[in-house]
Symmetry: C2
Subunit: 352 residues, 2 copies
């Protein structure tokens, strides 16, 4: 984009200065747990040789990258003339916590922190209601608690899950989101952590390079599950946002799923349309990490196959190591397509 174009960034990872920031919002015994031991997410055991966050955007005030609202405004929002940024934070790995009560308390405290310590700091900030789906009834309670806040624009959870997100245990969460008119976004990070399925169907890869490359597979699995379990028939107004899972695999998945559906539809009698139609109508995808073939026309061909201008939304993933800045990507699209992907699609979805 050029800097005159309006832009909404749908995946910005504001961070905690430290876990201690959550203590005012936690009750016992969780306050003592976090005070003594931090957040305590189960680990997945992979290490990035370039780090997970950029070191060149550490705030002058100290603390981790993206932990200072004022500096985030300066370094991202103002630099790229962003109209809105959707804060996705750093708590989606709460989906991997073993104890459902702790997970629910933690995301609730985190949501309070977003409402109190971030949203008032700048008019561009929009927040996500992070939920932990281990106990769906507690996730529903959290959605009901915060859905009326005008700047909380979506429900957010980790893509690291014990089961495909179409399965019935998750449906109360979708009922609540649909009732409040909020989309559900998912974000990777905890894939393969203790308690989760292996991060690939071939088990645990050796290195972060392989783990990160394979993250898209989890999105393919969840999307297949959401469609086949009939989530979009049961919740016809529900929208899903697939953050940071890649894009160029979509033609393959839609073709394979449609073909298999035609042969095996007797096992999913609740579906009334082709799987690809549900995907196009109900799912949005963030752009980062954008695939970069040597020949950029190949990505344009893929975009044509998936009606990209109507299902993509720009995301930077700031401040992560592989973030995409809006002035650097999607230069070859038409100005109409860029307008939709950088602004209009997110504006409509999030009712901005």
């Amino acid at each position: 984009m050029n800097k005159e174009m309006k832009c909404i960034d749908v995946d910005v990872h504001n961070d905690l200065k430290s876990p201690q920031e959550l203590l005012p919002y936690l009750s016992e015994p969780w306050r003592s747990r976090v005070a003594s031991s931090g957040l305590g997410f189960p680990g997945h055991g992979y290490w990035s040789p370039v780090g997970v966050v950029r070191k060149d955007c550490i705030p002058p005030s100290g603390g981790p990258s993206a932990s200072d609202p004022d500096y985030l405004v300066k370094d991202l929002v103002e630099q790229f003339n962003m109209d809105k940024v959707i804060l996705t934070g750093n708590l989606t790995n709460s989906s991997t916590i073993h104890d459902p009560d702790y997970a629910a308390a933690l995301v609730s405290a985190y949501n309070d922190h977003i409402v109190a310590d971030w949203l008032p700091k700048h008019e561009s900030f929009r927040g996500s209601i992070t939920v932990a789906p281990q106990d769906p009834s507690l996730a529903v309670r959290e959605i009901d608690r915060l859905a009326d806040h005008p700047a909380m624009v979506q429900v957010l959870m980790g893509s690291a899950q014990r089961a495909g997100l179409g399965q019935r245990q998750f449906h109360p969460i979708y009922e609540a989101a649909e009732r409040h008119g909020l989309p559900i976004a998912i974000h990777p990070g905890g894939e393969g952590a203790a308690g989760m399925p292996a991060p690939t169907p071939a088990g645990y890869p050796t290195r972060y390079l392989e783990w990160h490359t394979c993250l898209s597979q989890n999105y393919m699995a969840h999307l297949t599950s959401l469609v086949c379990e009939g989530v979009f028939e049961k919740f016809p107004k529900l929208k899903f946002v697939m953050l940071e899972g890649g894009i160029a695999w979509l033609p393959h998945l839609m073709w394979r799923l449609d073909k298999n559906y035609k042969a095996l539809r007797s096992s999913v009698p609740w579906l009334k349309r082709l799987p690809s139609e549900y995907i196009r109508e109900h799912c949005m995808f963030s752009t980062q990490p954008i695939e970069e073939p040597d020949d950029p026309k190949q990505l344009i061909s893929i975009f044509d196959m998936i009606d990209a201008e109507n299902i993509l939304m720009f995301s930077s993933d700031y401040p992560h190591w592989d973030n995409d800045m809006p002035t650097e990507i999607l230069k070859r699209l038409s100005s109409e397509a860029r307008q939709k992907i950088f602004y209009d699609n997110a504006k409509a979805l999030y009712r901005i």
Copy 2:
């Protein structure tokens, strides 16, 4: 293809009339096990509403589809004027057996059965040395035992594995295959069976429709593993054949892997080229189940991105429910591309 074009079919599932056919080739205690209890593969729990094999190709002599060599010649080889068919059999799920001694005994008996009961029956038949990689040293012994048979043209194993196929425990198998000039083929089927990782990174899907759609993910994971672990640097003459894993996901995987490699290459210092270059040079892919977009030109676009005419080989997957017949697919390719995919590529790979 037209019926005048020569054709090699690289994935034909000859079947046992019954497990009893293996008894002459088994020693105790395995002979008693199979006699009393059949093959005993761990199950994955998914059920196809259309069955797994076509019922319209059951031999007049009785027994399962594709269990009668003479009828397979009549129903497939002669009907489609096939020059050669690569028999891939029905033992690749032996990769899921818990006991490495039983798995090794079973595939060895099966290979003897192929050599004695199938290969002499028709000049078009070529066999695969099925191996069980649970104990790599026993797999190496099996390769060494049969590699000199002129009609055994590849090493074959299940894609259902406890770990990514690039990992070091598998390297002795690759050393043996390379030493004998044999490609390694992998075939799906046991994904998610007891003892294997979940068939998706989102756990166990609910139905066969979802399980089958997600099989491609296992191929993405193995291919990522093979490249990143340096298998193709360590075994520069080794070729891999990816049977029945799909094709249209390849641009995505190559782009994502190349991009991640550029940033994270310090963790795989043994790689000297881009991941996509290893894939193009060392891996072949079978066509079935071919993706079928509404607009066939979209598949041609994907083919252009992956140099399809040099990495694809025709397969029917006869007699499975979703098999592709050679007269029905790839009609829009140039005659030069069809010649390579239906014949030349397999002829060169298998030294036919």
